[in-house]
């Protein structure tokens, strides 16, 4: 039981560390277990109980330790896969951001070039003359 309990502890610790990486930041920290409540062998201290009831309690604890261990290992695998998946998605997203930023920079440059060209065109005599002709036509309604 001590060995199994130790395994549960260690699996839960590993899983906790990994899941915390995968979870949203800002969650409250898991409070530390009171060291006084744990014996030297890692087994939680408990008051003595009667023989028959004690056996039932031990069986339940063993069963739940086993379930906890199995599930912790399964959670560990999922958490690990989630870290890998999230990292890949982060890399993909970062790549997409970089590509979009490059495209945005190119478009801004192109816009700048076009605006400069437009400004140059507007400052030519031909453009100003054409604009006056259009004003005249609008005034005469022709």
């Amino acid at each position: 039981m001590t060995m199994e309990r130790a395994l549960v502890n260690s699996a839960v610790d590993m899983q906790g560390a990994l899941v915390q990486q995968a979870e949203e930041p800002g969650l409250a920290k898991v409070p530390a277990v009171d060291p006084a409540a744990i014996g030297a062998n890692g087994v939680r201290a408990k008051p003595p109980s009667e023989e028959g009831h004690g056996r039932k309690v031990t069986e339940l604890r063993l069963e739940l330790d086993r379930l906890s261990l199995e599930q912790s290992l399964a959670d560990f695998e999922v958490a690990n896969a989630r870290v890998v998946d999230l990292t890949q998605r982060l890399v993909d997203a970062a790549e997409e951001i970089r590509s979009l930023r490059t495209e945005l920079d190119n478009l801004r440059r192109a816009q700048g070039t076009l605006e400069a060209e437009l400004s140059r065109t507007r400052s030519t005599k031909a453009y100003r003359f054409a604009e006056k002709v259009w004003e005249l036509r609008r005034a005469l309604n022709v």
Binding site: E24, A36, R44, P47, S49, Q71, D75
Partner: protein, 391 residues
């Protein structure tokens, strides 16, 4: 014939500190286990490594004394991972249903019988939450009072609601994990709570939405009442802040996964199904209480403390301008419209008994009518009119 076999339920209560309220909860668990008529209840108390010095030992002794299973996780696992132990345990041990519950609750004796019967009434039901004074958006409208959490009050309320609603259900967008029953067949198909929700909050919503997408119904059973203090252990654990009632980071996960969920909740709240059910519940509670424990009538402008009265208090405005009587019992409030005949005659017709007391605190048209009615019926009227109450 197999339908008649006793169903097996695993009732798992999660504890994190909570010395002030956990004993009352566990005593109610033992009581309902002993008094369930159609269900075999196994109770499991999951101590999430409570850090309060000495408390885990006390809790284990209490569980031993009450005959409840006890398990302390090797370190703090949070709600989803602890409750997953309960789900796994129920699957392995062959239970028909598993009920997860908070420890800041008081359960009625009919909890297991009612919730299991509701779940059994339709194999399409994936979850059933009990009704409560504090069940998020579905709460019964009641002013919190110390009497509300007394086991006798919880039993009585639950019995009254069972009488009114039987095994009927209300389909809701999501269940609430304070007291949620799930058939193990549904657990087998839908799976466990997602540990991505860390120390907890929203994991049951995620589970319910997953179950809904698989075609299961998500329901509240209005025919059972569980007292829920709310925030008891989660605030102590630093899981939620005093000014908040949820964990924002976990809500963001729900928004990401189920962008349609908030719209579904809005649509549900816009329908009047819940309001009608609430009105029915409160009227039934007040009627039954008045019939059982009696009632008093008073004509007064001012809100007055309940005093030593055990029964229902009906109050009217002394001048009778508003043709309605306000009813109050154990923090439940309702307003009944008067239909022309005298107030006492109307109450006698509805409740089948005259009032125990009639008190008038101010003069007015209605006070005069009350005086005439009481004189005719031979009921004593206590005239406490001194000077006009209203400034």
């Amino acid at each position: 014939m197999s339908e008649r076999r006793r169903r097996r339920l695993l009732l798992a209560v999660l504890v994190y500190n909570g010395q002030a309220f956990v004993p009352a909860c566990l005593e109610s668990v033992a009581r309902l286990r002993d008094r369930s008529r159609t269900v075999d209840v196994d109770a499991l108390v999951l101590d999430d490594a409570s850090p309060e010095p000495g408390w885990s030992g006390e809790l284990e002794s209490l569980c031993e004394h009450l005959g409840l299973g006890y398990y302390s996780s090797p370190r703090n696992l949070g709600i989803p991972r602890n409750m997953n132990l309960a789900l796994l345990r129920s699957l392995r041990a062959g239970h028909d249903h598993v009920l997860i519950a908070n420890s800041d609750t008081v359960f009625p004796a009919n909890l297991a019988d009612q919730l299991v019967a509701v779940a059994q009434s339709d194999p399409g039901i994936g979850s059933v939450a009990a009704w409560s004074n504090n069940i998020a958006i579905y709460s019964l409208p009641v002013q919190s009072s110390p009497e509300l959490k007394e086991p006798e009050a919880v039993d009585w309320l639950s019995g009254v609601l069972a009488g009114e609603f039987g095994l009927s259900t209300l389909d809701v967008p999501s269940g609430v994990g304070f007291c949620l029953l799930m058939p193990t067949d549904a657990v087998r198909r839908v799976g466990l709570f997602d540990p991505v929700f860390g120390r907890g909050y929203c994991e049951e919503v995620d589970w319910c939405i997953r179950s809904g997408r698989m075609g299961y119904r998500i329901t509240v059973a209005p025919g059972v009442f569980v007292y829920h203090q709310g925030r008891g252990s989660t605030e102590a654990a630093g899981l939620i802040r005093r000014e908040s009632d949820s964990v924002e980071a976990n809500e963001r996960i729900l928004d990401l996964r189920y962008p349609e969920f908030r719209g579904a909740v809005d649509n549900f709240l816009r329908s009047d199904a819940l309001d009608r059910m609430r009105a029915r519940a409160v009227d039934r509670i007040i009627t039954e209480a008045a019939q059982r424990w009696g009632y008093s009538v008073e004509a007064s402008w001012l809100p007055r403390p309940a005093g030593d009265d055990n029964g229902v208090r009906f109050s009217v405005e002394p001048d009778g301008q508003v043709p309605a009587v306000r009813a109050e019992f154990l923090g439940f409030r309702s307003q009944w419209v008067l239909e022309g005949r005298g107030l006492l005659a109307e109450l006698l017709r509805t409740l089948g008994r005259p009032p125990d007391r009639v008190n008038v605190f101010d003069r007015g048209r209605f006070t005069d009518l009350l005086r005439e009615e009481t004189a005719r019926a031979g009921i004593r009227l206590d005239d406490r009119c001194g000077y006009p109450e209203r400034v």
